[in-house]
């Protein structure tokens, strides 16, 4: 019995193989259609699984999305720098893009008063990589000889990179000479400010160990930002920690729109693939009507006919999906380089998902042709009427 079953299985395989190889052009069209569909789907899936992280990182280059400052019910307008450090430690290191404290004060420059911001330059550079800098960034957080000027302020004070300026505090009990290392264009309030190191600002303003607030840039992908804020506030009761809703919301909306666009592209491609496969299979069924009529006359029931055609569709689909995943991975790399300037990682989950979606599309495409095959009347075919 076992040997006979093997022979039956071999005969079945032989029937499938011969039926497919004898119609190379039609099978090639169906295979190519499925391959294109699977390639697009797998590429979009690869991008989809990477896009949230990649987009989030990309969007994080457009500024801070998390605020830490004194709590609203506190009369203090400053918080301890140590509280900022504690808040930073609460954020998972892999999610933290950058963070910088801010300490503001009015100082007198050679030609008039200006707002001075004390920041951590290494942090603010990661927070605002889009700032345009004429000259150079200050790289060392302990640099107390250089400053950076906002573009408008530099213009008003007729200062340029390399100029030296005298900076005096309001109480006139602290004076220092600083070199303009860079002039920044931000499109924001910083264009009117002079930026110095936080430690120097604390010294100038006499606010040792204090800051007004801090800004952070945090990857929101896979992170509950509200829970993070609550966690910081629980640990530091006098601190107000909150996500900047406008930025987070925009990120969510952009991601949602891109995902929606990708889903739309996938649906359109899948529909076209399904239609193409369906017409090819229908043509194959019409071509094979005499053969189907014959096997029915020989005793094949509808189950045999359905099994034969579904198996053929299955072989074409699986082959198309294998090729499609390879092509799709290449396509994902092209998309990744074009949009994110980085490669897209391959995830194993893409394989079963692409296979399942492609098989579902192939089943939809095969439904009408298989129904046509089942409805073939052997007596009409043998009489030559179909």
């Amino acid at each position: 019995m076992a040997a006979a079953r093997v022979t039956r299985a071999r005969m079945f395989l032989r029937l499938i193989t011969k039926a497919l190889t004898v119609r190379k052009s039609r099978v090639a069209i169906a295979l190519f259609s499925i391959m294109i569909g699977a390639a697009i789907i797998s590429a979009l899936l690869c991008v989809y699984f990477d896009i949230s992280i990649k987009m989030s990182r990309e969007l994080r280059t457009y500024g801070a999305n998390f605020f830490v400052g004194p709590s609203a019910d506190s009369e203090e307008r400053t918080i301890d720098f140590s509280a900022f450090e504690a808040a930073v430690k609460t954020v998972p290191p892999e999610a933290l893009i950058g963070a910088s404290p801010y300490l503001y004060g009015i100082v007198r420059l050679d030609l008039g008063n200006a707002v001075m911001a004390g920041v951590d330059f290494s942090g603010i550079r990661r927070l605002s990589p889009y700032w345009q800098v004429d000259g150079r960034w200050i790289v060392a957080d302990f640099d107390d000889r250089n400053c950076m000027l906002g573009k408008s302020l530099a213009k008003n004070m007729e200062l340029k990179v390399g100029d030296k300026i005298n900076l005096v505090n309001r109480d006139r009990n602290f004076e220092t000479k600083l070199t303009v290392k860079g002039i920044i264009e931000t499109g924001q309030a910083e264009d009117q400010q002079i930026l110095v190191n936080r430690a120097l600002a604390q010294q100038i303003l006499g606010q040792d160990g204090k800051i007004n607030h801090a800004m952070m840039s945090i990857l929101t992908e896979g992170l509950d930002i509200d829970a993070l804020a609550s966690s910081i506030e629980r640990r530091l009761p006098f601190i107000d920690a909150k996500p900047i809703r406008k930025v987070s919301h925009s990120e969510g909306k952009i991601l949602g729109k891109i995902t929606g666009l990708m889903a739309l592209v996938a649906i359109v491609i899948l529909s076209l693939t399904t239609l193409c496969v369906m017409t090819t299979l229908m043509a194959m069924i019409v071509e094979r009507t005499p053969e189907i009529g014959l096997v029915k006359a020989l005793g094949a029931d509808n189950g045999n006919v359905v099994l034969q055609f579904l198996s053929e569709i299955g072989v074409i689909t699986v082959s198309g999906v294998v090729l499609g995943i390879v092509v799709g991975y290449g396509l994902a790399q092209v998309l990744g380089q074009a949009v994110f300037s980085s490669s897209i990682s391959f995830r194993l989950i893409v394989v079963p998902m692409t296979l399942a979606i492609s098989l579902a599309a192939a089943l939809v495409a095969g439904a009408i042709p298989v129904r046509m095959a089942v409805k073939i009347n052997p007596s009409s075919v043998l009489r030559g009427e179909e």
């Binding site: 022979t7 011969k18 096997v295 006359a297 020989l298 005793g299 029931d301 509808n302 045999n304 007596s379």
Partner: protein, 227 residues
């Protein structure tokens, strides 16, 4: 199995297409091992009758028992089972699968029937004189050879009855003789044969001739009675 000795038994078998009766009140008993031929002019209902006897179409009215099974009331799936279990079909147009070899075409009938025995299939082809053409495609065979593959395929499952529709209709005289000899051999082996034909030589070789006209039995001629 039948109880009255008839492999094939019909009672008032009728097939209508709308208002038109293509076959009406066809009643016949075919004992096991008998060879009958159905003859008649075009449009007399021969093909309609063959489709009913082959369980390819259901009758509109009447009874049809094949090898003890009442086929008139069965479902489409059960008709498929009867076809594969009890009937060997031989066609005028041969109807071989073009991309399968002669051997595979015979194996195809076994595949839908039960187990496949390649040696049995080879023997069947050898019996019809095609032992040397096992791996040839239908397109590489002559008409006579294709018809012999068709006969081997019809015999492979040891059917209760062989139904042949104009088996020599597409053959030249030489191949006609070959096929006729094959049918005589099958008959001598005790096979039950129902043969639809225009060909008097083939028709008269049968033990009985059922003559159809306008969908009705016009006459039944028994060779024994003539002798």
């Amino acid at each position: 199995m039948n109880t009255n000795g008839s492999v094939l038994r019909t009672r008032n078998l009728t097939r209508r297409f709308g208002e038109v009766a293509a076959l009406e009140n066809f009643t016949v008993d075919v004992p096991r091992g008998e060879w009958i031929s159905i003859m008649g002019p075009s449009g007399s209902g021969k093909t309609t009758l063959l489709n009913l006897l082959a369980c390819l179409d259901p009758p509109t009215e009447g009874e049809y028992t094949l090898d003890g099974v009442d086929t008139a009331t069965v479902t489409e799936r059960e008709r498929s089972i009867i076809r594969r279990e009890k009937i060997g079909l031989i066609f005028q147009q041969f109807h071989l699968v073009p991309y399968l070899t002669a051997l595979e075409n015979v194996m195809l009938a076994q595949y839908y029937h039960s187990m496949i025995d390649e040696n049995d299939c080879k023997e069947a082809l050898e019996r019809v004189g095609l032992g040397h053409r096992l791996n040839h495609l239908p397109s590489q065979l002559s008409g006579g050879e294709q018809q012999r593959v068709c006969i081997a395929r019809a015999l492979i499952n040891e059917p209760a009855i062989i139904l042949a529709d104009e088996p020599t209709g597409n053959l030249d005289e030489e191949n006609e003789r070959v096929v006729l000899r094959l049918f005589e051999k099958l008959h001598s082996e005790g096979r039950t044969i129902v043969l639809v034909t225009h060909n008097p030589a083939l028709g008269e070789a049968a033990e009985r001739m059922v003559l159809l006209q306008h969908g009705r039995i016009a006459d039944i001629v028994s060779k024994a009675a003539v002798a």
